[in-house]
């Protein structure tokens, strides 16, 4: 109940944030802009609209996750509002979890709005909207939940600027982790190879949550891979949020 109250409060706070609307409006304009873009193309209109739409959801969703996520805890500490909240009968872990869930709720609303826009456009161009589009959006949302968890983790022990830099770095590294394994393979079993292999498992592998291609081409999706990717995201997000909660639990506010 306490977690839900903090989550709802975080959601209301985010909804009042102008940056959220700026990003959302920009995303919707970009989405609509893709229909103008296809008029200068020859062929592949449906593909371009789906590609652009999914990219918009992913990029702008990540911007929301990072820029709102980095201030989740650190802003409360900076403004000293955390003292008021924590003086109430509430555990620190409940506060951190509530903050995370509040931002996830905000993202859910934003992603839903953008997804509705994309489905509408896809329906307008093709006469139908593939359910695989929704599947791709669901996995983009999981990716955004993971990015939010990263932002929350950094927010518990560093400043918003540093949190933004760390989260962005891990976001990029998460998309490159498959290449890290290739790098490890090239170095064989040496120290660098083992370190690269270790990093590969430690860093989030965001390419595992990428089902955009299947949605765009209507290609078959392996249900096993889908279920394992879903579980991977759930486990990784849980690990990040639990670490953030543990750090926040021990944090000295003085």
């Amino acid at each position: 109940m306490r977690i839900a109250a903090i989550a709802l409060n975080t959601f209301m706070e985010a909804v009042r944030d102008r940056i959220l609307y700026a990003i959302l409006v920009f995303a919707l304009v970009m989405l609509a802009g893709s229909t103008v873009l296809v008029t200068v193309s020859v062929g592949g209109e449906e593909k371009i609209i789906k590609d652009m739409g999914l990219a918009c959801i992913s990029i702008f969703g990540s911007l929301i996750a990072i820029f709102l996520g980095i201030g989740l805890v650190s802003k409360e500490i900076e403004k000293r509002t955390v003292y008021t909240v924590l003086s109430k009968p509430i555990h620190r872990y409940q506060f951190a979890l509530g903050k995370y869930l509040g931002l996830v709720l905000t993202l859910l609303v934003n992603v839903s709005v953008m997804a509705l826009g994309l489905i509408g456009l896809s329906y307008f161009w093709e006469g139908f909207a593939s359910p695989r589009l929704l599947l791709a959006v669901l996995f983009i949302f999981l990716e955004l939940m993971l990015v939010t968890a990263l932002a929350l983790l950094f927010s518990t022990f560093s400043s918003p600027t540093l949190s933004a830099i760390f989260t962005l770095c891990l976001f990029v590294a998460g998309h490159l982790s498959a290449d890290l394994r290739l790098f490890a393979a090239r170095f064989g079993g040496g120290l660098v190879g083992t370190a690269a292999e270790g990093l590969y498992f430690l860093l989030p592998n965001l390419s595992r949550l990428d089902f955009k291609e299947q949605a765009v081409y209507g290609a078959a999706v392996d249900p096993g891979a889908l279920a394992l990717s879903f579980l991977y995201a759930v486990f990784y997000i849980s690990a990040l949020v639990l670490t953030a909660m543990a750090i926040f639990q021990r944090r000295d506010f003085r």
Binding site: S41, G43, K47, M52, A55, S58, L206, D210, K212, V216
Partner: protein, 223 residues
């Protein structure tokens, strides 16, 4: 106060008009210096793809739109397409399942840039990357049939295309006719009778009967 307001308005007008004037002037100079210029640098897809962080599909779309503009600009100016092949290679490497750069790009290379070998290589690359799509096998067959008049090769590609889902109805007819033309009357007869059996309409059935009769008459004459 009023004088300050007027001064700001005047400066604003001058600044806006100045920026528009300079923009038009610069565009004119750039167009004179490099008419229809393409890309200064097209990177290798192996290096570019990882940097795109999973958005290689969008990058291929944007590059394809640029290619269309590039072709359009050079059609209107010098009819020279020095970067077309490389740009198409990059677009198809970024998104190997995107069919338009292979199909339309192949046509651009063949009929505009006059690079038939590059067009065939591009289509073969597409067919290898998309073995489940009939379109690229069909286009390769069309190239060998129309441009080279190599009916054996055309037959080989069209036969593969005819076996794939979604292929147009006329493809099996083409294949049967080509078998007859290349001296494989028995196979052609077999294909026409199969087409007759599976035909969905009377036109196709009567066409199959007509072709089978012609082939049989030819066989009798040959004996």
């Amino acid at each position: 106060m009023r004088r300050e307001g007027l001064a700001i308005a005047a400066l604003l007008t001058v600044s806006l008009l100045g920026s528009v004037f300079l923009s038009v002037w610069l565009d004119g100079r750039r167009a004179q210096a490099t008419p229809g210029q393409g890309w200064l640098f097209l990177p290798d897809s192996r290096h570019l793809k990882p940097v795109l962080l999973g958005f290689h599909g969008v990058a291929a779309d944007l590059l394809w739109i640029q290619i269309v503009q590039y072709v359009g600009t050079h059609i209107e100016t010098d009819m020279k397409f020095p970067q077309l092949k490389k740009a198409l290679e990059l677009a198809t490497s970024l998104d190997p399942r995107f069919l338009e750069p292979y199909r339309l790009g192949g046509l651009f290379l063949l009929y505009l840039a006059r690079q038939p070998q590059a067009a065939v290589s591009l289509l073969e690359k597409g067919a290898a990357a998309n073995p489940d799509r009939w379109e690229l096998f069909h286009d390769l067959g069309r190239y060998y049939y129309l441009e080279v008049q190599d009916y054996d090769r055309a037959l080989r590609w069209w036969e593969r295309a005819a076996r794939l889902p979604g292929r147009p109805d006329y493809l099996p007819r083409f294949v049967a006719r080509l078998y007859a033309r290349t001296g494989h009357a028995e196979t052609a007869l077999e294909l026409w009778s199969e087409l007759y059996r599976t035909a969905q309409n009377d036109y196709l059935r009567s066409l199959a009967v007509q072709e089978m009769n012609g082939l049989k008459a030819g066989q009798v004459r040959a004996r």
